[in-house]
């Protein structure tokens, strides 16, 4: 594996890392396997697309709007639809989140059609050199921003009252209740944070790759793997998982051909599940 491939892999991995964390948090802490996660990611992409087309707003700026909108959507969905049915177990939450995906998918199809879209910013073509390799400026910026966002998420979880509340609930629900933490509110904010991260990822994705509703399923497939690799609810675990997946996909595409990519991902995931169900990082905990 040469330098260029490694750099490509890492840049991709950084974005995957950000993408996987949201899903991992929702599953690991709020206990919800969100099958509409892919829809939320590309919704973020489309939101940035609109702001770019209408107001020439750079995706790095409109991502904040995406994140905000998706946060509200996530909170709304959780509060009205998921919370009342949590006791129904996995069957209910899987079907519900799948239903959300269908609705969001339909809206996207109606408004934007199934065509692939992109956002072409003016500095799209610039590269800079690093040793033997070329690094596209945008991909570097995306990686950089993703890394910052991941770190901000970590800071939020470690240093704010709400973040610590979420951590407490994740570690010991009854204990957290006993000290007066509003457990339901923590789950809600955590879930909304997850969708916000999805939206942010979508905006960043839109600036470098094309997107369409076709990505809905594959994204969910990827974040599954990332979440399991890193251990559910584990921010740095998911980050590492994202990087690993980026490397595996890039290497896989080069050495094995892209058809085997998905199989590799699946095999890795099942192996991890069997061998270390708590993820490569060990027991579920924060950072």
């Amino acid at each position: 594996m040469n330098l260029q491939m490694l750099i490509n892999a890492v840049l991709l991995g950084g974005l995957y890392a950000l993408m996987g964390i949201g899903f991992s948090l929702q599953w690991g802490i709020s206990g919800i396997i969100n099958l509409s996660y892919g829809a939320m990611v590309i919704l973020g992409s489309y939101i940035s697309l609109e702001f770019f087309n209408l107001f020439h707003l750079d995706p790095f700026i409109s991502m904040i709007i995406s994140g905000g909108i998706l946060f509200v959507i996530g909170a709304g969905i959780y509060r009205t639809l998921l919370q009342p049915l949590l006791k129904g177990g996995i069957v209910f939450t899987l079907i519900l989140t799948f239903a959300f995906r269908l609705v969001i998918e339909n809206i996207i199809l109606k408004v934007w059609s199934a065509d692939y879209r992109t956002i072409r910013v003016t500095y799209a073509g610039s590269n800079f050199q690093f040793g033997d390799a070329y690094i596209p400026l945008i991909k570097f910026l995306v990686f950089f921003v993703a890394a910052i966002l991941i770190y901000l998420t970590y800071l939020f979880m470690m240093n704010t009252k709400t973040g610590k509340g979420i951590q407490a609930v994740a570690l010991d629900k009854e204990g957290a209740q006993a000290v007066g933490i509003d457990v339901e509110k923590m789950y809600l904010i955590n879930f909304a944070l997850g969708t916000a991260l999805a939206g942010l990822t979508g905006s960043l994705w839109a600036s470098i790759y094309s997107f369409s509703p076709h990505l809905l399923g594959p994204i969910v497939g990827k974040v599954f793997i990332i979440a399991i690799l890193g251990g559910l609810g584990n921010i740095w675990g998911a980050a590492a998982g994202g990087l690993l997946l980026g490397i595996a996909e890039t290497a896989g595409a080069v050495f094995l051909g892209s058809e085997w990519q998905e199989a590799i991902g699946m095999v890795i995931m099942v192996s991890v599940l069997l061998w270390r169900p708590y993820g490569l990082m060990g027991k579920k905990f924060f950072g």
Binding site: L94, L102, N106, E262, A263, M266, L273, L274
Partner: protein
Amino acid sequence: MFNNKKVNVFLIILGIIIFFFLPRFISGYWVRVITTIFMYAVIAQGMNLMSGYMGYLPFGNAMFFGIGAYITAIGMSKGMSFLAVLPLSALTAILVSILFGLPVLRLRGHYFAIATIGMSGAILSVVQNATEITGGAMGTTLPIINKSPEVTYNYFYLAMLALMVITSLTIYLVVKSKFGFGIRSIKANEEAANSMGINTTYHKVVAWAISALFTSIAGALYAYWMSFIGPEEVFDVMIAVNTIVIMLIGGAGSVLGPIIGAFVISLLSEVVWGTFLEYHLAVLGIIIIIIVFFVPKGITGTIADLIKKRELRLRKKVSV
């Protein structure tokens, strides 16, 4: 159902007879629709045994459908007759369920469901890539039956009807048996079940093997019926999703549930497709949400509740 066993048996036999003669009165289109309903009922029975009765949701169960379809396709392309290759397909599915079941059934709840998706995805990838054997991503054909379309679809209608009846009967007998109690205990409280002398591993593996058996036969019949299958089609995640919705609306933990659910969902889809072509996804999604909210126990569950409430009210009246 109704409390009188004889009434139940009579109604079931009546139902089977009605279904047997139905094709003479309806169009070919509806015969094919109902055949698909029977097929989904079989798949749902298999999943219901695992999920509704035992509490383990095999989200990727469609993999057995695909295995059944592909082994049949491959076997028949080598000259085997359908009836010769059918046991082979079923056996393959059972072996896969046992081989992978032993490690994977140790996982609890979410992890098990996800692991089955992983298994299904991996098998799909293998099928897509082993182009020499399976025809790869472009699919593969089966020998076309040398009869008129009408005879053909009637034949498969009856075959699927028979499969549905056999599957439902088998599952019913399993659930009512001592083994069935073991399965239900696992869902109720797996730790307690272990402490009571129930070999939970054995129960879980056998239950999945039964589920795999019938699901794979449905896949085998489907492949022969369609004469052409592709990997994305028979390993489709939508099969699992449809099945789960069927189980939900039919009601888990009941043998009638999957059958009722399959009919309701199919008829609902027909209506939605016809009326809302452009919005059919969203409408389906909204309907699912409504079902989950207002009929969480499904049709059979809600009716069972109503019957119980009526009994309680009657009992109160009598005692007063």
